[in-house]
Symmetry: C2
Subunit: 362 residues, 2 copies
DNA sequence: ATGAAAGCGCTAACAC
DNA sequence: GTGTTAGCGCTTTCAT
C-alpha cells in the first residue's frame, strides 16, 4: 500500500551561479531573483529614493518617472524585501494568535474573526499552537519581543497568561476567551459564571436534581468560573451538589468525555443529567453513555458548551451554550489594533453575550 | 445577557518619553525596552562585536568577558532584534503552512506533524488560512517572496497550486496532500485512487451494488482521483455507475454532507451505500440519513475518509480510510527543510500508505 | 520633483 | 580575544 515516486522534477531553479551544489547555503541561492531597490533604480535610471517613493505611493513623483520605475519593477520581477523595510520602519504588520490546541474546532471560528479584522487593517495574522505549554507560549511571545510580530492575541489558559504577563512588561497583546481581569491585559470573553448557571437552570427546569459536571482542568479560569456557576445554581435550587458528580479532565478530547461519562454512571445514584464544559467533551459524553447502555435524553440529559458546528449534527443534537465565536475573534483583533495604535490608551475588557441553544439532548 | 466592563488597568507602559499620547506612533513607544546591541556593549564596556559573539555562542570570548556581557544583557532585559539579524543573515527561520480551512479537523494533526519537525530544526511554523482562495494564497506566497518566511507548505487545491507554481519561480515550497506531480514541486500525499478503490471494494464485499459517491469540488485533484478510483472499482465489479449516484459539493461542512445524503435518497432506487470523501461529509451524511428515516448501516452503509478523531465517536462509528496525518505533516516538513538546505537538490515526491478502518457504519 | 546620504540593529570580515 | 568597520535593503530627512 505504500510506495515512493520520484516524479517531481526539481522546480526550475533560476541561474544560481556556480557554488558547490551540496552546500547548505542560503544567501547565494537567491542571487537571481534577489535584486534590490538599487538594481531597480539603476535600470530605471533614477535614484533609490525615487524608487522608494513610487513603491510607497508617495506624492511628488512625476508620472513619467513613476512609469519608468514601474516598468523597471515589472521587468525585473522585483519584490520589496520586507525584512529591510521592517527594520527601517520598526513594524512587521504581523499579528500572532496563540491557541492551546488548534485541533479543537471551537477555535476555528474565533480565529477566522481575528483574521478578517486583521486583514481589513493591513495586517497578516499567523496562528501558533502552544499546546497549552508555557514554554512554547513563551517562545511565541519572544517573537513579539524580538520584533518579528507587532502584536498577539492569546487564547491560552489564564495561569499561563499570568506567568507571561509578569515577564512580558508592556508587550502588545490581548486575551481572548481565557482571561484574568487582574492580569491587567485587555480581554474579551463571555460571562462564564452566568453561562454555566443558565445551563444548569435549564437542566433543573427539566426536572433534573442530580446533575453532573464534566469540567476541564481547573487551571483554566473559565473552568473555575463555570464550576462556581454550576455550584451556585444548584445551591440556589436547594440542592447540595455531591463531589462525586464532578470530574476534572486534563483534556477536551472526545475520548476524555466518553470515559468520564462512563465513570460518572457507575454509582447507583448516578446523575440523570450531565453538563460538559465543551461540545467536544459533550460529544464524547454521548458516546460514553451509549457505550454503557444509557439513552439520551431519556436516561440522561446532556448539555454542552460552545455550539461548535458538529453540535447540531450528532445524534441526538446537542443542547449547548452558544458563544459568539466570530465576534469574540473580531473584538479581540480590534482591541489589539487599538492598543497598537495607541499604546497608552486604556483598553477595556469586554464581555459578549452567550445564548442557550436547546436541542434534542435535553 | 451582555455587558461591558472597564476593569483592565492599562498594562504599565514603561517610561515612554513625552510624545503626544493620542498618536498612532509605533517607533517611539519602544524607547524603554528597545535598546540595541550597542547599548549592551556600552554597559558591558566591550564592543558590539563581542556582544554579538556572546549572543551567538561563538568561540574566542574569554569567560570573564562573556560574563560581563551576559550580566549586561540580563540587567537591561535586552532582546535581539531579529528583524536586523534576519536582514543581515538573509533568513527568517519562519515556515508557513497554508491550509484551505483550519476549521477542518483533518488538518490539525498534519499541522502538528509539521510543527514538531520545524521546531526540532529551529524553525517556527506559522499557520495561514487561505480559505481556498487564490488571492489570499498569493498574498501568503508574497510573504515568501518578500523574505518574511523561508519556506512554505501548501495544502491547498492543486488548481491553486498550479497558478502559484507558474508565478512563483523557484520559491521554496512543498505540497502536502493536494498535489499535482506535473507542477514540479516536491510533494507528499497518499494514493487517492487506490484508497477510493479500497473503500468501494469494501462496500462491494458487503454486498452493495448501488453505491453513491459524495465528493468535494472536482477542482481538487484528490477529488478527481478518488472519483476515478470509485468508478473503476465499480466497473471492475461489473457495475455501471449511474450519474445520479454522484454528487459534487463545494464544501466539506457537516451540513453539506447532510443535505447531499438526503437528496441522494430521493429516488426509489437510491444507493444502499454511500462513500463520502471526507469524514466531515460522512458525519453530515449520517445526520442526513437519520433525518430521512434511514438507519445506518441497516438501510444504508457509509464509508468516510481521513479518520479524524470524531469518526470513532459518532453513532454509528464511521468506517473510513485512515490517512497517516501526522506522518504526512512530518514528511512535508522534512521535504521542505531538505529543499531549503539544498535548493538545487532533486527532492522527490512521496506517497504514504493509507488504511481501511472498519467500524459500525458498514 | 529628484538625489545624496544617514541610519535602522545586526553579523562577519578583517585588523590588531 | 577583542575592536573597527562595512554592509544587509530599505525609508527618510535634507539639499537642490
Amino acid at each position: 500500500m505504500s510506495r515512493s515516486t520520484s516524479k517531481a522534477k526539481p522546480a526550475a531553479v533560476s541561474a544560481t551561479g556556480d557554488e558547490p551544489p551540496a552546500q547548505p547555503l542560503s544567501r547565494a541561492s537567491r542571487s537571481a531573483e534577489g535584486l534590490s531597490i538599487a538594481g531597480v533604480a539603476r535600470q530605471a535610471g533614477v535614484s533609490v529614493a525615487t524608487v522608494s517613493r513610487v513603491l510607497n505611493a508617495h506624492e511628488n513623483v512625476r508620472p513619467a518617472t513613476r512609469d519608468k520605475v514601474l516598468a523597471a519593477v515589472d521587468a525585473s520581477g522585483y519584490r520589496v524585501n520586507e525584512l529591510a523595510r521592517n527594520l527601517r520602519t520598526a513594524e512587521s504588520r504581523l499579528l500572532l494568535t496563540m491557541v492551546p490546541d488548534f485541533g479543537n474546532p471551537f477555535y476555528a471560528e474565533i480565529v477566522r474573526g481575528i483574521d478578517s479584522v486583521a486583514r481589513q487593517h493591513g495586517y497578516f495574522m499567523l496562528l501558533c499552537d502552544t499546546g497549552a505549554d508555557a514554554g512554547r507560549e513563551r517562545s511565541y511571545f519572544d517573537l513579539l519581543r524580538r520584533r518579528r510580530a507587532d502584536g498577539a492575541i492569546c487564547l491560552d489558559p489564564a495561569t499561563i497568561q499570568q506567568a507571561q504577563a509578569d515577564a512580558s512588561g508592556a508587550l502588545p497583546w490581548v486575551a481572548c476567551c481565557e482571561f484574568d481581569p487582574a492580569v491587567g491585559v485587555p480581554y474579551v470573553g463571555i460571562d462564564n459564571y452566568r453561562a454555566a448557571g443558565d445551563a444548569v437552570r435549564h437542566l433543573l427546569s427539566r426536572g433534573h436534581r442530580r446533575i453532573g459536571l464534566i469540567n476541564s482542568d481547573i487551571d483554566y479560569l473559565y473552568a473555575r468560573q463555570r464550576q462556581q456557576g454550576y455550584l451556585d445554581a444548584l445551591s440556589d435550587a436547594g440542592i447540595t451538589p455531591l463531589d462525586g458528580w464532578r470530574m476534572n479532565l486534563n483534556s477536551l478530547d472526545y475520548e476524555a468525555g466518553a470515559s468520564a461519562a462512563a465513570t460518572l454512571m457507575l454509582p447507583p445514584d448516578a446523575p440523570t443529567a450531565i453538563f460538559a464544559v465543551s461540545d467536544t467533551l459533550a460529544t464524547g459524553v454521548l458516546h460514553g453513555l451509549r457505550s454503557v447502555g444509557k439513552r439520551v435524553p431519556d436516561d440522561v440529559a446532556v448539555v454542552g458548551f460552545d455550539d461548535i458546528s458538529i453540535a447540531a449534527q450528532i445524534d441526538p443534537p446537542l443542547t449547548t451554550i452558544a458563544q459568539p465565536m466570530r465576534e469574540l475573534g473580531e473584538t479581540a483583533a480590534r482591541l489589539l489594533l487599538q492598543r497598537l495604535a495607541n499604546p497608552l490608551a486604556n483598553v477595556p475588557g469586554v464581555l459578549l453575550p452567550h445564548r442557550l441553544v436547546i436541542r434534542g439532548s435535553t
